[in-house]
Symmetry: C2
Subunit: 133 residues, 2 copies
DNA sequence: TTAAATGCAAAAAATTTGCAGACGT
DNA sequence: ACGTCTGCAAATTTTTTGCATTTAA
């Protein structure tokens, strides 16, 4: 997928096959933990090292190619960086869904109540998905 | 502080001195990581074990005596469970502040846009505090 | 008195580091 | 060709576990 190579270079990342595969996996699955990425990529690269995953996740976070999602009571998962959005997770089946929410109503409250100059918001909503309800 | 012993028992936790000290430290400092708790309590209990901190944080989470706060790019910190609230963290000095926000404006959006039955919200706002601005 | 908690040591899991050889640009 | 990346092995760091002893209720 030359497509991922391009995206990588746009973020000043050398386009190695391992990195393209990380990008592809995240694009396909949406949200993956380090361990999950490792298991998926191992099928493609028999000699893949976990250290490679860690090193790449780090540099990809620095370059904002991927973003970390911290879920309550679970390991972090990673996703390709997209426009800001919140996450919705089912407490039963643990499915994660992206959701675009207008945060303005919160930011205005925050502006009134604190002296902070708020720049970013990280929001995770938990509940029951349609199936598990 | 017999006060903390009572609170602990209300959450079905045996009131050991170590647990009361964890409660007191969290009450005093607001938000602490495992390592910070360990360093603080060690002054009071020379023989304190890190394992004791871990075991207690776990059971206190189960019993909702404490809550975990996951901050972007950092280790989790813990706080005494209070009514739901969001967190505000300075990206420069890393100070954490609690803030009560009315989330209704988000929950109504979520209700419209998804099939989830949303139960809880975890929100961390990041920005610059008054001093660091 | 009894179930549960502590502390210790060891084990396991997660993450990081250094380096030689391979590879992208 | 150069600087960076990969894979490996080892080192670190973080978290968990088992067990003997102590302790809260």
């Amino acid at each position: 997928m030359e497509h991922y190579a391009l995206k990588l270079r746009e973020h000043s990342l050398k386009a190695t096959p391992q990195r393209a595969a990380i990008a592809e996996a995240l694009d396909t699955y949406g949200h993956l933990s380090v361990e999950e990425l490792y298991e998926i990529l191992r099928k493609k690269f028999a000699s893949l090292s976990l250290a490679t995953i860690y090193k790449n996740i780090h540099i990809m976070l620095e370059n904002a190619f991927v973003s970390e999602v911290k879920l309550p009571g679970q390991k972090s998962v990673y996703e390709l960086t997209k426009e800001a959005h919140a996450h919705l997770q089912c407490t039963n089946c643990h499915t994660i869904e992206d959701i675009a929410l207008d945060m303005e109503c919160l930011l205005s409250q925050a502006k009134t109540k604190t002296d902070f100059d708020v720049q970013t918001a990280n929001l995770v909503l938990s509940g029951l998905c349609k199936k598990c309800r």
